[in-house]
Symmetry: C2
Amino acid sequence: MIRHTCLLALVLAGPAVAADPDTVAASLRDRAMAGSGAYALVESLTTEIGPRLAGTPDEARARIWAVAKLKALGFKNVRVEPFDMPVWVRGIETAAVLGANAQPLAVTALGRSGATPANGLEADVVRFATYADLEAAPAGSLAGKIAFIDHKMLRTMDGSSYGAFGAARRSGPSLAASKGAAAVLIRSLGTGYHRHPHTGGTNWAAGQTPIAAAALSLNDSDQLNRLLAKGPVRLRLVLTPRLAGTAQSGNVVGEVVGTDPGAGAVVIGGHLDSWDHGTGAVDDGAGVAITVAAAKLIMDHAPKPRRTVRVVLWGAEEPGLYGAAAYAAANPPGSIALAAESDFGGGRVTTLKSRVAPEALPLVKRMQALLAPLGITPSSDNSASGGPDVGPLAAKGVGTLTLQQDGTDYFDLHHTPDDTLDKIDAKLLDQNVAAYAVTTWIAATSNVSFARAAAATQP
Amino acid sequence: MIRHTCLLALVLAGPAVAADPDTVAASLRDRAMAGSGAYALVESLTTEIGPRLAGTPDEARARIWAVAKLKALGFKNVRVEPFDMPVWVRGIETAAVLGANAQPLAVTALGRSGATPANGLEADVVRFATYADLEAAPAGSLAGKIAFIDHKMLRTMDGSSYGAFGAARRSGPSLAASKGAAAVLIRSLGTGYHRHPHTGGTNWAAGQTPIAAAALSLNDSDQLNRLLAKGPVRLRLVLTPRLAGTAQSGNVVGEVVGTDPGAGAVVIGGHLDSWDHGTGAVDDGAGVAITVAAAKLIMDHAPKPRRTVRVVLWGAEEPGLYGAAAYAAANPPGSIALAAESDFGGGRVTTLKSRVAPEALPLVKRMQALLAPLGITPSSDNSASGGPDVGPLAAKGVGTLTLQQDGTDYFDLHHTPDDTLDKIDAKLLDQNVAAYAVTTWIAATSNVSFARAAAATQP
């Protein structure tokens, strides 16, 4: 009897009794805000590895870094899940106005751009103020021309302008090529006037031969507009990127193992690859650091959750979500309870949105209540994407959360040389970690199913 | 009698009677604030010419532009005053960390930098936190090393930090070379974290063979510090600038001719050349535009002044004040009544300072009173430089004014690719034009001598 009482007392003092999930969540949140360790992770990645273009030895070094870091932090089942992908690498890239107003312009090739001849091409510029104007151009009308797609993107807190106007970069070059263009220049899909062109992926139609496609900085886009206002502009463009065959990339995985292996994992992560110009601090060292730090916090300061918390550091996101495709192909949706990616920089989380089964919405409301002390606004939006790399999982019905960040400044930096560690604020990362720790813990400790039955039947 | 009265009435209605100098000055000031036309000038120069490195065909095109523009605006005695100068041009410039943390660093050669071998040099980095630390390094101690001069420059409104710490760039490379360094990297003499290294001139001792000397962006300087904290850093540096012989540059001059040819000219201007990375909008398209617009305002909206207002658009300022030296050599100090250069960007004028004979200080006070409605603070500082290109005149005793601008953001842009038209605010230029119109008009219409007798005896 005495013995029994003692055991009860031990239980009361131990984690099991402190394990009211909301109390634990609040404790994780407050610990994160007091210093989450996320900054040290992004500092280590961006300093020791620097840029890490998908499929290159730099990205391979980042996987080695990630495996070592996750093991050192105590994650279980740490592994690389490799996949093959086509590799594209940058070459020379210059542009110059010819004639009376001769001057260089700052350009950078878009991912998967074709090349000009090695000594460049010269052509006249035809401007399109919007993507719709390019769509309206008659077939063949761009023969021998450089199409300049000048579609402007405004600054928005949630990055919605990038989604809305991204076609200018993602499909503009292919569309211009289909109308005969010799090459394409786009106004950078970005918001910062610091004379950095913003790179980023572009897509070609099946069977289409890529033409040279580059971004101009905003400064240079305006300059080209002023020159075009004076008369015809002829440019010399040299772009020599190339496809470098097939190489291995991979997703790096580590787990905080839960008590119920059949309950499905809660997947959080960021992508490990970056474009080659910066050191990938906001895109997406921040996401890597935030999610690893959140899982580590649960590992160290919460009871073992029911569901496994799985960190997936995605490979080859930038050139076309190769890691996301490989992961979704290898993992049946039933094995994933919920997924969320942090891939919008290091700004403060402003809103929690979801895309889950209706019966899971009360749990989302509980998460939102726990996040209210961080100033995070609840949202009833239940159509959130969850982030680019969880898209293929979401398409199979896996529930997703979006911890929407303030990205007001994100597109000043995104895909430019200026994406470096100095743009990261440690305290803002801590707030992100707090939000991920709360949502991940609540999801991992619950019995609720997030899977969207209807979506699960979609292709 | 009637005839006489009519003449008197005409005189009363015309400029002669409105010609109380302070009333005219106030009118010029208010006209400028309503729209001075300066923005159109800097737009034209930076758009039509773009970068204009001293001694190159680009700077020659800028002179042609300036002559045409001054003539079109109605200036008299428009001319180029040519001089010869040694030309330095940029080549390839790359830097990369070698070994386990392999990654590129953003660098740009300093003006007059020597070259590495064509295939680059590899060497270990030795860091100096300050210029004084480099001074303290023993002779020969840098043999075979890359000296990294990490001297920090803080943001100041008046740019005083650039003057105070400029030795890191101006003489640091020479000093490191004298101690055996194979090459030099400096933390950019700038304040903007946008991953642009800041170029700028550096000086070599007589007889010294220049070594490769480049600036790192602030982002990359911090990165190099983090890497050095982990252990030794070895770099591969490729810099292939070269001296391209002697070429012609020139000062472009235009005048609003005064009534008294012997009274000495009031010289105002900016420098026409720029570094090669940006389009020279803040350095110094702004100064060109401000001073031309101010003189044009006097030409159009004031009675003919006693003294000639002479606009001098200086050539080859950046590589070493070649235009200033040529001008001072060709013009006896007695032919210049007063001189001022606008060469600190497009920010608001905050203060009027002088360096004039004591008997001219009451006139400076009158100028200050006329500038008070613009929010310009009077200063009793009578040791102002007047700007870099009027330095050789000041050294001969010519009086100078400094219309001190707010340069808080100037060193974010200075000598970088980001020095482009979008950084110019037309309304702030108007305020500068107002200040230059007032001070130039008051000086040109007065009998006061500004010459400093004591200084006139200096070498």
